[in-house]
């Protein structure tokens, strides 16, 4: 049973990943990515990481993918060429990719780690439960957890900074000090010349 589940998940995973880069329609690529992420969640379940599997489905297959679908629908069906447009990279990129694949295969096949051939360690019940993960976050990895929340704050600030680039006509109070002088509305030539000196 375990083997069947594993191969189902693995085939879904690889098939989804190949379809993401192989399909010409970006919308189908997004759907293939969802297949990939759900199969990956299945593999996480096999590894007894229930919380991770649930988070994967809720956050990635759910929220993030909705965003991607919106973008794909907004941009429309752009038929992308399957071939790399930059001629120099057309052959070098796959060659480098193959080299990396060979390297990683050697790493995994040639590894002398004994536990690779076994069923893996036996873990106690509740190993990947939300409680265990929460405990790890607040005990052992407290710093990483707090830093990750700050990372989200900084990313939000960054998103606001970059999104505000179009709100040039906002009232002066938006900028601290309100020193921006609005030029005449509707004049494309309102782009000012930089004062010399």
């Amino acid at each position: 049973m375990k083997e069947v589940c594993f191969f189902l998940g693995a085939i879904g995973c690889l098939g989804g990943a190949i379809a993401v880069i192989g399909l010409r329609n970006p919308f189908y690529s997004v759907l293939a990515l969802i297949v990939h992420l759900i199969s990956l969640a299945g593999l996480f379940l096999l590894l007894q990481a229930e919380f991770l599997a649930a988070a994967q489905i809720v956050v990635y297959a759910g929220a993030v993918m909705v965003l991607y679908v919106f973008v794909a629908a907004y941009v429309g069906n752009v038929e992308e060429s399957l071939w790399e447009p930059i001629p120099g990279q057309r052959w070098i990129a796959p060659l480098l990719g193959l080299a990396l694949f060979a390297e990683l295969s050697i790493a995994i096949i040639g590894s002398g780690l004994k536990s690779l051939d076994t069923e893996g360690p036996t873990v106690e019940l509740g190993f990947g439960s939300p409680e265990a993960i929460g405990r790890l976050m607040l005990e052992r990895f407290l710093i990483a957890f707090e830093a990750a929340s700050l990372l989200l704050l900084i990313a939000a600030i960054g998103a606001v900074v970059l999104a505000a680039r179009r709100r040039e006509s906002a009232p002066p109070g938006v900028q601290p000090g309100g020193e921006h002088v609005d030029s005449q509305p509707g004049s494309p030539a309102g782009i000012p010349e930089r004062a010399a000196g």
């Binding site: 607040l138 990895f141 710093i143 782009i191 004062a195 000196g197």
Partner: protein, 515 residues
């Protein structure tokens, strides 16, 4: 939840991190109120000063923090101090920078402090998890700051390029971390070293390839050749104060983190990674010095020169001994001072002339603006390693370390690279001292980057002129900015003539890993 074991937190040891976190929130709040434009930069400088004070207060402490996620020692604090100094100079440079004004000085300050916080965490990280999150916290604000000059298409391009390449680097690094964790069963540096050393798995292919991927991921961040292609473009496109910060502070934090990761966690593999890193150092020295030869843009030139300098500094890690680390810390501090001295001048001339960051912007300033000509001269001579500057002393220590660590050929490569580098550094100096000042030319300001071509016609956005372009150069700001350059240049010469204080400082930091 009865058996919840709260980790012991040494608040004194964590105080620099806490100060920066509180500072981010404080500076961010400035944007809410109608305050004079200097409030946010002043607050940023205050936060940086407090953090620097706390770092100096904790100097000499040696302990693990919060379940050994971080390591409080002089090495991490030294990198933090360099990053804080670079951030302070950047804040002064960004005070009237159009990019920072457009982003909002409060948001810009918060992003800058966020990046510094990432650097402090990265330099102190002793766990793969805190290492990676520190690296991301360092990078993400930089991506945004690179793209923050909305009036220049190159800025957006630069931010996007940095984001894509930085993400590839992070992904490679993470893959390497996964392999290392798989082989050692731990994310803690000490436990990884123990598992690899005693378990006899140091030669396992999984470990070796994991190490290689970690090295590649960090090489992207450090702009070591052949993972350097983004550097000149991003340096040129980013607003110059951001470029200055990126060039100096990122290198300091990432090099210290690299040294800690490779020499502590991967210590049992030293014989395996030494030749690989030595090859990276050699390629960087060659590519950086040859690439810089034909550059006309000062920022591109400094980008290529940064690649070569990163190659020199990597030699300090390659040798994997205490002398190497001391030389690395000394050179990082010296590099910070001399590079900032040059960037200050580039920023000022970018605002005063219409030549942007082209070498011609510096023509003739030897006669007309000696206060700008001397910092750039001293900075360039120090980068080239002329005696009497801290750059010379730093290179001397690096070469000494390579000889001691049986990598003499790398020392020879540093010497040859330095000789080649004179060609492009002296070319700048020739422009400064031997050419007449050119006639000013008028160039129109480009449209907002990223806006669609139809946007002005259909939506008619009202483009506001940036305050910096409206106002004549304020005397106060000029004194502050030029003063920062002069301070950096004076320090470069002072530590070249009397290096003892900086040497003691670097020795403290280098010996704290107890290799």
């Amino acid at each position: 939840m009865s058996d919840f074991a709260a980790p012991t937190i040494d608040y004194a040891g964590l105080s620099p991190v806490i100060a920066l976190t509180a500072g981010i929130c404080l500076v961010l709040l400035v944007g809410l109120f109608r305050l004079p434009h200097w409030v946010a930069p002043a607050k940023t400088l205050g936060v940086l000063a407090v953090t620097a004070g706390l770092c100096i207060w904790q100097w000499g402490e040696n302990e693990d923090l919060v379940e050994s996620a971080l390591r409080l020692d002089e090495l991490g604090l030294a990198a933090s101090l360099i990053a804080i100094f670079a951030a302070a100079v950047t804040t002064i440079l960004a005070m009237r920078e159009p990019a920072a004004e457009d982003a909002g000085q409060g948001a810009f300050g918060a992003l800058l402090l966020g990046s510094v916080l990432g650097m402090v965490l990265l330099a102190q990280a002793q766990n793969l998890l805190s290492f990676f999150i520190g690296l991301e916290l360092l990078s993400i604000p930089l991506y945004v700051m690179c793209a923050s000059a909305i009036r220049r298409e190159r800025s957006l391009e630069s931010g996007l390029k940095y984001l894509v390449i930085g993400s590839v680097g992070s992904a490679t690094l993470l893959y390497g971390f996964a392999l290392l964790y798989g082989a050692s069963g731990s994310t803690d540096f000490g436990e990884i070293a123990a598992a690899l050393g005693e378990g006899g798995q140091a030669d396992d292919t999984l470990v070796l390839i994991g190490t290689a991927m970690v090295a590649v991921g960090l090489a992207f961040k450090l702009s070591l050749a052949p993972f350097h292609q983004w550097t000149p473009d991003v340096y040129q496109g980013a607003p110059t104060p951001v470029t200055a910060f990126m060039a100096v502070a990122t290198k300091a934090a990432a090099f210290i983190a690299l040294a800690r990761l490779f020499e502590v966690a991967l210590g049992p593999l030293t014989d395996d990674w030494q030749p690989a890193l030595a090859a990276l150092a050699l390629i960087s020295i060659v590519v950086g010095n040859i690439g810089a030869l034909g550059q006309d843009s000062l920022k591109r030139l400094l980008g290529y020169s940064g690649i070569a300098q990163a190659g020199y500094m990597l030699a300090g890690v390659v040798v994997a001994n205490e002398t190497g680390l001391e030389a690395l810390v000394f050179y990082l501090a010296a590099y910070c001072l001399m590079n900032l001295a040059i960037f200050v001048v580039v920023v000022v001339r970018e605002r005063e002339t219409e030549h942007g960051d082209d070498i011609s912007a510096l023509e003739g300033i030897g006669r007309s603006r000696p206060a700008l000509a001397w910092p750039v001269t001293i900075g360039m001579l120090a980068l080239a390693g002329l005696p009497g500057t801290s750059g010379f002393i730093g290179k001397l220590f690096l070469i000494e370390a390579t000889v001691e660590g049986d990598y003499t050929w790398l020392g020879v490569a540093i010497v040859i690279g330095t000789m080649v580098s004179l060609a492009y550094y002296l070319r700048v100096l020739a422009a400064v001292w031997m050419r007449p000042e050119p006639e000013p030319v008028q160039t129109p300001l480009p449209a907002i980057a990223g806006a669609s071509p139809q946007a002005p016609a259909t939506e008619g956005p009202r483009v506001t002129p940036s305050p910096a372009s409206e106002r004549p150069l304020g005397a106060g700001r000029c004194v502050l900015v030029v003063g920062a350059g002069v301070v950096c240049a004076v320090a470069t010469v002072a530590f070249g003539v009397y290096p003892d204080p900086l040497v003691d400082w670097a020795t403290d930091a280098g010996s704290s890993l107890s290799l």
